[in-house]
């Protein structure tokens, strides 16, 4: 199972990185989302894998999986949700301001050096 989980993390990372290297904001954001999934699962696995051992008293399970990474992942999920919301909105704003959704600023009408404030 460990190999499957690790390869899934790797897949999501690779796909995320590939999409982040695209030239439009939308795939970049999707890429970031995928990377976030990968990170969350990776963080989760730092408590090692366990089935049927939820970290809850009185479930009658033989033991408890490590609850700490779970709490950390929860925090990470929430934070990345906020971040995703912000970048989605910023990408929309950039699109509305410029009329296109290119990510790179070097190959279009925008002056490289900031220009008009």
């Amino acid at each position: 199972m460990e190999a499957l989980v690790a390869s899934a993390i790797g897949m999501m990372t690779a796909a995320g990185v590939y999409l982040m290297l695209r030239q439009r904001t939308f795939p970049v954001i999707v890429g970031l989302t995928l990377l976030t999934y990968a990170v969350n699962v990776f963080l989760f696995t730092s408590g090692r894998l366990a089935t049927n051992m939820p970290a809850i008293y009185g479930e009658g399970a033989p033991g408890y999986s490590d609850p700490l990474p779970q709490a950390l992942v929860l925090t990470a999920i929430v934070i990345s949700f906020g971040m995703t919301a912000v970048i989605v909105m910023m990408a929309l704003g950039a699109f509305l301001e410029s009329g296109h959704d290119k990510v790179d600023m070097n190959d279009d009408d925008a002056p490289v050096d900031g220009g008009q404030k």
Partner: protein, 90 residues
């Protein structure tokens, strides 16, 4: 114990169902098919969760299953509304 075999059978059925949904997601003439496949997938997955709960004699994931049903519905409607109108909250 026959119940175990039945459970295995159910696992098999819903698992195969999941696989079929997956195939449909990839091979679909249009996005509506994919939305439908995803919707069905959610249902199959939540069933698998419940079956897994039976196998492990634990109900700890049932809220998750309930939430899957809820969110699956909301997201299906959202995708459809997007296809229909573009603006999903207008």
């Amino acid at each position: 114990m026959i119940l175990n075999y039945a459970l295995d059978f159910a696992f098999l059925c819903f698992g195969l169902g999941l696989a079929m949904n997956l195939y449909r997601v990839f091979r679909a003439p249009g996005v509506t098919d994919r939305i439908l496949a995803l919707d069905t997938m959610v249902i199959n997955v939540l069933t698998l969760i419940v079956l897994y709960g039976m196998r492990t004699k634990s109900g700890v994931n049932f809220e998750a299953a309930l939430l899957f049903a809820m969110t699956g519905f909301v997201s299906t409607v959202a995708y459809c509304k997007f296809v229909l109108r573009g603006d999903i909250i207008e």
